[in-house]
Assembly symmetry: C2
Homo-oligomer: 266 residues x 2
């Protein structure tokens, strides 16, 4: 009756056009929504990132760094949140159009962080939504923080946290690359896709990335890896797939064989 929920992340770089601020990738959104509708997952939670809606504003107003006491920054937070609401509306309207009863849970309305980590999250609305057969949709957001005043809560932190709180079976992370590689495929032609790795390997990868001090301002792969480690430690399977490739998310949702990186604890 109550299957374990699946948590699906749609990366901001998938559902928006990276280089054009405030431009949703409507073609990708509609295709992904069709794939989600066709997969008929019993209990699904969707989380999406900010892409070219959230990131430029969050960066311009230094929201992640916390409140500096200036009215202009407070207004910047309001703008950044509204940009995320605007992007979320494209996603949810599209889901509803495909007859999926999607309801947004707006993170800033109910999650409080402490130094950037989720501190309190009343779970009753989320559990009620799943219990009644709705598809809860959350997104990276500006949130209020007990130490910083406010900050940014990334979609990636949400995936791992929700997966653990909801005792999810697995998380599917849809990004704009094919998965994790042995090296950076953009600069190293010998880089190979890692199709199946364990927790130990993931931890080594985190260490390597940190030592390389690769700039990762947008919460890219290093940020994702750090969060996924927390989920995998809790026996949740994580699958990273290229959501820009048609059918990848569909296959991942159905549990079919798909190109990408599967991460398991053992």
């Amino acid at each position: 009756m109550s299957a374990k929920p699946v948590v699906l992340k749609l990366g901001g770089s998938v559902i928006t056009h990276k280089v054009k601020p405030f431009t949703p990738n409507l073609k990708a959104i509609r295709r992904l929504v069709n794939e989600i509708a066709s997969a008929h997952v019993a209990r699904l939670v969707i989380i999406h990132g900010g892409g070219s809606f959230g990131h430029p504003l969050a960066k311009r107003y230094a929201i992640r760094e916390g409140y500096n006491g200036k009215a202009s920054q407070a207004l910047g937070l309001a703008e950044t949140h509204q940009a995320m609401v605007a992007l979320n509306k494209f996603v949810v309207d599209s889901l509803i159009h495909r007859k999926i009863p999607a309801v947004t849970l707006s993170p800033s309305s109910f999650i409080i962080t402490k130094s950037g980590r989720i501190h309190t999250m009343p779970e009753e609305p989320l559990k009620k939504l799943l219990q009644l057969g709705f598809v809860p949709v959350l997104h990276g957001d500006t949130v209020f923080d007990s130490d910083l005043g406010f900050t940014i809560l990334s979609g990636d932190q949400l995936i791992a946290y929700l997966a653990m709180r909801l005792n999810a079976a697995r998380v599917i992370v849809g990004v704009d690359v094919n998965g994790l590689f042995t090296a950076d495929p953009k600069t190293d032609s010998s880089a190979k896709l890692l199709s199946h790795i364990n927790l130990e390997r993931l931890r080594r990868m985190q260490q390597q990335l940190e030592e390389a001090k690769v700039a990762d301002v947008t919460g890219g792969m290093l940020g994702k890896i750090k969060e996924l480690i927390l989920a995998v430690e809790n026996d949740i399977t994580a699958l990273i797939v290229n959501a820009l490739k048609p059918k990848s998310v569909y296959k991942a949702l159905k549990g079919e064989k798909v190109s990408g990186t599967l991460i398991e604890k053992g």
Copy 2:
């Protein structure tokens, strides 16, 4: 330093065109936002109704009556909530445009009702917003209910509840009529505006309206009166003004003399 908050309701019949579904009254919204900006209230909470965005859908899908187990109704709830999000976006974008740091707290994300009455509402995000100088914006919404599955939470229930929880000094209720009258001004030409009434008189009025069994499906005056009684019992002053009349909301916010109905306990 921390002045008592003022709770302002903008009626759905003020900020939308009643007869045209899904049409915001942008002229009224912009004027009201200018009045709010000019009044410079230290701690303000804004609540708005659903008007022609929320009501037709809520009625079509019988959301208030609770979940009937049908997928079509669940999808109807998702649609109704999205309509409220769309209306809320016009209000909040307009506030931000006037440099008011407005952030929506989406009721369905954090409020659970029990048989239609607010049962749990974590108050940390709301208090944090006010403490940092933001203007929280809430709205009538579809919410999850521990008895009914889901239902409608009216903006009117929110006014009284938030005023009590936040220990507000006063609530200002902006509607599309001039206030409370001795009779229905639309049908009785001898009806007189009640400019100042006490709790006892308000209770008598509730009784009369209930005995008259006036249809009040939209949570109109009888709904408002019932909720306001709860606030006034708790020593909160309520002022009903015609928000379609320019300067009424401004004067009410400034505490200046204004035409309308003032309700006090004593």
